[in-house]
Symmetry: C2
Subunit: 140 residues, 2 copies
DNA sequence: TTTGCAAATGCAACATTGTTACACTTTACA
DNA sequence: TGTAAAGTGTAACAATGTTGCATTTGCAAA
């Protein structure tokens, strides 16, 4: 399936209108693949893209489960496109991310399983994220 | 050992001067125990505490390993006092934290072990944090 | 195809947090 | 007890998050 088609499908699945900003942003996420990108990075790439609209676009995408937030230690919130695996889990976040301290990139590690930790009995676990950091292969 | 003594010891260990702000902030962390607190929370509690000084105090405490940063999904950076266990690991961050979506508190789970994930061979892992969220016992 | 309405956008405005520079104050030690 | 270095407070600015409101746009029904 080509990119345009995938974008169209994702928006339909999320019951979102097809607008130029959304298509543009979604294309970025599809191209980024497993790399989580920040609002800042998208802003820099498209200088005439309104910051507030972008903020709301990301928020909307997250709400409908097109993207998920990747927590990392940089303090900057980043997002990555959800894999199919993600959507089959009813958009629960059980992601592992690796943050490279050198290139500051965050990549989703779909193949790393997060074990269920044994919490106190009365705690109700909803999401879990494993935040790893260090130096990635490309930077060594 | 009483609190004053512990504060004094921690500052000496970090080779930091004993000042009123530092003693005040450190006392908060000791009282908070395993609960991670944000700059904002400390600010609210002590209204005449200078925001920038607090920022630098937290930064300094983190650098010398008195406190560690707790990543959570709130976007607000939080810190908690390091357990002895923490300092014996040369201040590497291998923490598990639970964030309650209701009371917005973050607690350190010292007893939850983070398993070493199998990363691509050329990745160099330095820190790992397990970020759990849901509803805590007190809020149910 | 046109049209109306809800959704989406862009702008203004403001809050919070992070960060540095610089002058002033305080601590700790000689 | 005086002094140098460390710490503090003020100012100033950047980045990001967030809401209100007027305008524009997408889309579906007429």
């Amino acid at each position: 399936m080509d990119v345009e088609q995938r974008i169209s499908n994702l928006l339909k699945l999320g019951k979102l209108r097809s607008t130029s900003v959304r298509k543009l942003v979604l294309k970025e996420f599809l191209e980024a693949g497993t790399t989580a990108i920040s609002s800042y990075e998208i802003e820099k790439k498209f200088e005439d893209l309104d910051r507030i609209t972008l903020y709301r676009t990301l928020k909307t995408f997250e709400e409908v489960g097109i993207i998920h937030q990747a927590v990392d230690v940089s303090g900057r919130s980043k997002y990555a496109i959800c894999s199919e695996d993600c959507s089959t889990h009813q958009h629960e976040d059980h992601h592992a991310h690796f943050y490279c301290k050198k290139c500051e990139k965050t990549v989703c590690l779909d193949n790393v399983k997060i074990p269920r930790p044994n919490l106190p009995a009365d705690f109700q676990l909803e999401d879990s994220q494993l935040v790893l950091s260090g130096v990635c292969g490309a930077c060594r």
